[in-house]
């Protein structure tokens, strides 16, 4: 998800009938430039080389989102024709299709994805991407996968091997809810983490696009 303003000008996008390394390509109507859906980078046209600004996003279940944001709107296509009947778009534990998906994130030009099959076993993963300490919190019951900066007040937070994203302990004795990004107990109680851009992607597409080393653990 991106801000669609560039240098103060508003862009409108449409789907371009082509793929780049298996990934959708967008076209802006104002200049006809082509943009990668996965990176927000202009691939061709007069805006080639420009980047759209990433917006922090979360991939969570509708239930979780509405619990965290009770006033939120929910996008709905008006016609059932727009529905995809594939019910695999759910992050809950156990779907046979889990091996097809990764939870991807980006920090600047660095990109990394985390297989859902790995997150099933390891719901909290500490990592560093583009020089930024991050933590991935995954809740298979709630169907939530989120990525946070693990820096608060200039201090890097180190998480132990937490069995659950909703109660992850750090080395200072805090307990964090990594679904909400909030310390729920300990000296930092009430403090918040900053979210990072997150997307659900097909494993093969992510690997083809960003390269083999872009998937955690490979």
């Amino acid at each position: 998800m991106y801000a669609r303003t560039l240098q103060g000008k508003r862009l409108t996008f449409e789907l371009w009938p082509g793929l780049e390394r298996g990934v959708l390509v967008m076209r802006d109507r104002e200049t006809g430039s082509l943009w990668s859906q996965l990176t927000g980078l202009a691939l061709d046209g007069s805006l080639r080389g420009q980047s759209l600004r990433l917006l922090p996003t979360s991939v969570v279940s509708l239930t979780t989102w509405q619990r965290l944001h009770p006033d939120s709107g929910v996008y709905s296509a008006a016609s059932p024709f727009f529905f995809i009947s594939d019910s695999s778009y759910s992050l809950g534990r156990g779907p046979q299709t889990h091996s097809q998906y990764v939870l991807g994130t980006r920090v600047g030009s660095a990109a990394r994805a985390y297989p859902l099959t790995l997150l099933d076993r390891t719901p909290v993963i500490e990592d560093e991407l583009g020089g930024v300490p991050i933590v991935i919190g995954y809740d298979p019951v709630e169907g939530s996968g989120l990525v946070w900066d693990r820096v608060v007040g200039g201090q890097v937070i180190d998480f132990g091997a937490a069995p659950s994203a909703s109660a992850a302990r750090d080395d200072a004795g805090d307990t964090w809810d990594l679904v909400r990004g909030v310390a729920i107990d300990g000296p930092r109680k009430g403090q918040s983490l900053s979210p990072r851009w997150t997307t659900l992607a097909y494993t093969d597409n992510w690997r083809a696009f960003f390269g083999r080393g872009s998937i955690y653990g490979e």
Binding site: E14, Q37, L55, V60, Q66, H69, G73, V74, Y89
Partner: protein
Amino acid sequence: MSRSRTVRRSLLLAALVLVGAFAWRALAATHIAGPAATSPAGLDRQSAVIGVVVNGQSRAYPLRMLGAEVLDDELGGQPIVVTF
């Protein structure tokens, strides 16, 4: 061709255009549901959504409804493009 037949054909054509326009609008239109405790029709509450907060306003986009789509939207005064 008689005048009445021409008028009937014109009316039929106009009706077809109107029906087509309404059908297109119904297909193309989207709306933002909520803030509702209920989910959009046909959407399982465990379905995955991409959620975003911009300038204090929040919105969720069910992945099932996005599919291979590029969606221009505006949230918290910020034009955004939603893709999956």
